[in-house]
C-alpha cells in the first residue's frame, strides 16, 4: 500500500472523528455552553487561571502531548506488521483518544480547574490520591529509563550525533542569557541560535565523538540533573525552546518527503500474533500509547489547559483537535518505519543494531533525501532530533521527580525534600533501571503505566458523568477496555520477567550484552516489582472506582446540571 493512502486514511478518520463524533459528544452529551463561566474567567489570577486564545492553547496542548511516545511506539509496533499498528492508531484515537483528552479538560473545567489528585480524592477515594501520586513517581521513573536507554543506544551507534547535542546545550544556555539577561530581541536570538544548531548538526558529521552505552547513559543523566537543579529559565527552557524549531523542521521535512516520494509500504501488513515483545493483544495496545491514547494527555488537559480555556466550546478544538493532530504524527512515524526500508529484514536489522531510535533516524533521513537533503546529513539531523526530543523531556522529568519526592516523603524525611538530593536520587534510580533492565520490558511498563493513567482518567470522567446524570457509556467502555488490556499487558510482562529470573539462575538464558548475571537478575527483579506495583495500584483504583461508580449511578443528578435527554 502507498504510504500517502495511509496518511489520507488518517485525515479522513480525523475529519470524521472531529466533525461528527466529537461534535455530537460535545453538543449532546457534555452540552458545552459558551456562556458558562470557565475557571479561567472565574478565578483569573494572571498566572494559572488565565483566559487564553484557543489557537495558542491548541499549540500549547499539542506541544505538551506530542513528544517521543507517538514517534517511537508505532516504530516498535511495526514488528506485528503495519496494519495492526495503523488500525490501533486510527481506531484508538477515534474511539478513545480524543474523548479521553477532551473529557479530561471538561471535567477539570467543570470542577474549578482542580487537578487529577484532587478529583481522585473527591470522586473516587482518599487513598486513590495517594496511590495516584506514588504511581506518578514510578511512571516518571519509567520514562527516564526508557528514554535514557534509547538515547544512549543512539549516541553509541551514531557518533555523528553527540557533537550537535553538546553544542545545543551551549546554544540553549546562551539563548537563555541573551533573552532573559541581555533582553535581546527574541526573533533575532531564535534565528541565530537555530542557525548555529543546524551548523553544529552538519559539523557533527565531521567531528565524531565515540562512547559506550553506560557513558552515554551517565551523560544523559548529568544533562537532566543540571536541568533539574538550575533555574528553569537558565537551562531547561531555552534548550527546549531552540529544540522546538529543530524538531518542527525535521517533522516538516518528513511530511514533505512523504508527499514528494510517496513511498510504498515495504514491511508485511501482518507478521504474526506472537512476537518477541509478546502477543498482539494486549502488548500492541501499550506499545503504541501516545499516538492512540495516553494518560499523560489527561494531566495536560486537566491541570494545564482546563485552567486557561476561555469558553467551554473551545475544549473540542483544543483538546480533541490536538489529539487528532497527534494521530497524524503517529501515522508519520509508522510510515517512517514501514515504508523507508528495502524490506522487513532491513528494518529488523536496523532495529537490532540501533533500536527504535536508529530506525527513526534512518527512515527520516530516507524521507528527507527525497527533498534533496544528503543522506548522511539527514541521518545526523534525524538522530539529533530524536535525542533532543528525549533529552528535553528527561530534564523536565527529573525536575518533576524531585518535586514528587519532596511531596511524598519530604515531610517525613526532610533531606528528601532537598533539591539536589531529590534530583540525585531520581538520576541514580534511573541509572540502575537503565543499565540493569531490559529495554523492551521497560518500554512495555512505561506504556502500561501511561495507559493505566488513561484508564484512571476515563474512570474519573465516567463517575463524573454518572453523578451528573449524563450518558456515561461513552467513556465507560473505553475505560473497561483500557483497564483490562493494560492490566493484562502488565501481567504478561511481569510473568515473563519473573520467568527470565528463573532462566538466568538456571543458566538457560544468557544475560544481555554488557550486563553481568547479577545485574541481569537484579534488573529483572526491579522490573517485576515495578510491574507488580502498577498492577496492584490499578486494581485498588479499579475497586474504589467501581464503588464510586455504583454510588454515582444510584444517585440523582446534581442540582443545576440537567441530565441530557436522548443522547444515546
Amino acid at each position: 500500500m502507498n504510504s500517502v493512502f495511509a496518511f489520507v486514511l488518517a485525515v479522513v478518520a480525523a475529519v470524521l472523528g472531529y466533525y461528527w463524533y466529537a461534535r455530537y459528544f460535545d453538543q449532546k452529551v457534555i452540552v458545552a455552553d459558551p456562556k458558562r463561566a470557565t475557571p479561567a474567567t472565574m478565578y483569573m489570577d494572571g498566572v494559572d487561571f488565565i483566559p487564553t486564545s484557543q489557537h495558542v492553547l491548541f499549540g500549547y496542548q499539542f506541544k505538551s502531548i506530542a513528544a517521543l511516545g507517538p514517534v517511537l511506539g508505532p516504530i516498535i509496533a511495526v514488528q506485528w506488521g503495519w496494519l495492526p499498528a495503523l488500525l490501533w492508531i486510527l481506531a484508538g484515537t477515534f474511539f478513545i483518544g480524543w474523548i479521553h483528552d477532551y473529557s479530561s479538560a471538561i471535567i477539570g473545567m467543570r470542577n474549578q480547574g482542580e487537578t487529577f489528585g484532587a478529583l481522585t480524592y473527591k470522586l473516587i477515594s482518599p487513598r486513590g490520591r495517594v496511590i495516584l501520586l506514588s504511581f506518578m513517581y514510578f511512571y516518571l521513573l519509567l520514562i527516564m529509563a526508557a528514554f535514557a536507554s534509547i538515547v544512549a543506544g543512539m549516541l553509541k551507534g551514531m557518533s555523528s550525533v553527540p557533537f550537535a547535542i553538546l553544542v545545543l546545550m551551549a546554544v540553549g544556555v546562551g539563548a537563555g542569557l541573551l533573552i532573559y539577561r541581555r533582553r535581546m530581541d527574541l526573533i533575532l536570538v531564535t534565528v541565530v541560535m537555530v542557525a548555529l544548531s543546524l551548523v553544529a548538526i552538519w559539523l557533527g558529521t565531521i567531528v565524531k565523538i565515540p562512547g559506550g552505552f553506560n557513558q552515554w547513559v551517565i551523560f544523559c543523566l548529568i544533562f537532566s540533573y543540571i536541568g533539574a537543579v538550575l533555574p528553569i529559565w537558565a537551562y531547561t527552557q531555552p534548550i527546549n525552546y531552540i529544540s522546538f524549531y529543530l524538531v518542527t523542521l525535521g517533522m516538516l521535512g518528513g511530511f514533505l518527503g512523504i508527499l514528494v516520494g510517496r513511498p510504498q509500504f515495504t514491511v508485511p501488513a501482518f507478521t504474526q500474533f506472537n512476537i518477541g515483545l509478546g502477543p498482539l493483544w494486549p502488548i500492541l495496545f501499550v506499545t503504541i500509547a501516545c499516538g492512540a491514547i495516553s494518560g499523560w494527555h489527561s494531566l495536560v488537559s486537566s491541570a494545564g489547559t482546563a485552567r486557561q480555556l476561555e469558553k467551554e466550546t473551545h475544549a473540542r478544538y483544543v483538546a480533541g483537535g490536538a489529539m487528532f493532530m497527534e494521530m497524524a504524527l503517529a501515522t508519520l512515524a509508522l510510515i517512517i518505519a514501514a515504508a523507508t526500508f528495502a524490506n522487513f529484514s532491513a528494518y529488523r536489522e536496523m532495529f537490532g543494531k540501533l533500536g527504535a531510535g536508529g530506525v527513526f533516524a534512518h527512515g527520516l533521513s530516507a524521507l528527507m533525501s527525497r527533498i534533496g537533503i544528503p543522506s548522511e546529513l539527514g541521518s545526523a539531523y534525524a538522530g539529533a532530533m530524536l535525542v533532543i526530543l528525549a533529552l528535553t523531556i528527561m530534564q523536565l522529568v527529573v525536575r518533576f521527580m524531585r518535586i514528587a519526592m519532596a511531596e511524598i516523603a519530604g515531610d517525613a524525611v526532610p533531606i528528601l525534600g532537598n533539591v539536589y538530593v531529590g534530583a540525585l536520587i531520581a538520576c541514580v534510580l534511573a541509572f540502575i533501571l537503565t543499565v540493569t533492565g531490559t529495554w523492551s520490558y521497560i518500554w512495555v511498563l512505561f506504556g502500561g503505566s501511561n495507559q493505566l493513567m488513561a484508564g484512571l482518567a476515563l474512570m474519573l470522567v465516567t463517575i463524573w458523568l454518572a453523578r451528573e446524570g449524563k450518558n456515561w457509556r461513552f467513556t465507560f467502555f473505553p475505560m473497561v477496555f483500557m483497564m483490562v488490556t493494560t492490566i493484562a499487558a502488565l501481567g504478561i510482562t511481569v510473568y515473563r520477567v519473573v520467568g527470565n529470573v528463573g532462566k538466568l539462575q538456571a543458566g538457560t538464558l544468557a544475560p544481555p550484552a554488557g550486563q553481568t548475571l547479577s545485574m541481569a537478575i537484579g534488573g529483572n527483579v526491579i522490573t517485576a516489582l515495578i510491574g507488580a506495583f502498577l498492577i496492584v495500584a490499578a486494581l485498588i483504583l479499579a475497586y474504589d472506582g467501581l464503588q464510586a461508580w455504583n454510588a454515582a449511578c444510584g444517585k440523582p443528578a446534581q442540582a443545576g446540571t440537567a441530565a441530557t435527554p436522548g443522547d444515546d
Binding site: 483569573m44 495558542v56 499549540g59 506541544k63 489528585g117 528553569i232 529559565w233 494531566l299
Partner: protein
C-alpha cells in the same frame, strides 16, 4: 498582576479579524502556543511567587499569620488591595504535584 498580561495572544474571538488575516493570526498564535507559551507561563509563575511571598510577609495577618507591627502594611495596603483576592485564593488553594508540573 491580574488581567491578561500576555495580552497579544489572549484576545477574544470577536476581536479577531476574519478570512485571510484571521487565518494568519491563528497560525501565529498556534506557533506561539507551541514555542513559547509555557515559557511565558513559567515567567508569570516566577513573578507571582515572588510577589505573593512579599505580600505574605507584609500582609500575612489577613491569612491569620502573625506579622510585624502593621505600620508598613498600612502604607502598602493601597498598592496591594487589587491583588488581595487573587493572593488569598492562590495561597489557600489546595495544590499537589500536578500544579508543579503544569
Amino acid at each position: 498582576m491580574t488581567g491578561k498580561q500576555a495580552g497579544e495572544p489572549h484576545r477574544d474571538d470577536k476581536e479577531r479579524p476574519s478570512s485571510g488575516s484571521g487565518l494568519l493570526q491563528a497560525v501565529r498564535e498556534f506557533i506561539y502556543g507551541m514555542a513559547a507559551h509555557d515559557m511565558t507561563r513559567y515567567a508569570l509563575k516566577t513573578r507571582s511567587s515572588m510577589e505573593h511571598l512579599f505580600i505574605l510577609i507584609t500582609m500575612g495577618d489577613m491569612l491569620g499569620v502573625p506579622i510585624l507591627p502593621p505600620y508598613y502594611s498600612m502604607r502598602l495596603l493601597p498598592y496591594v488591595v487589587p491583588q488581595v483576592a487573587t493572593w488569598k485564593r492562590r495561597m489557600l488553594r489546595e495544590k499537589d504535584l500536578m500544579d508543579a508540573i503544569f
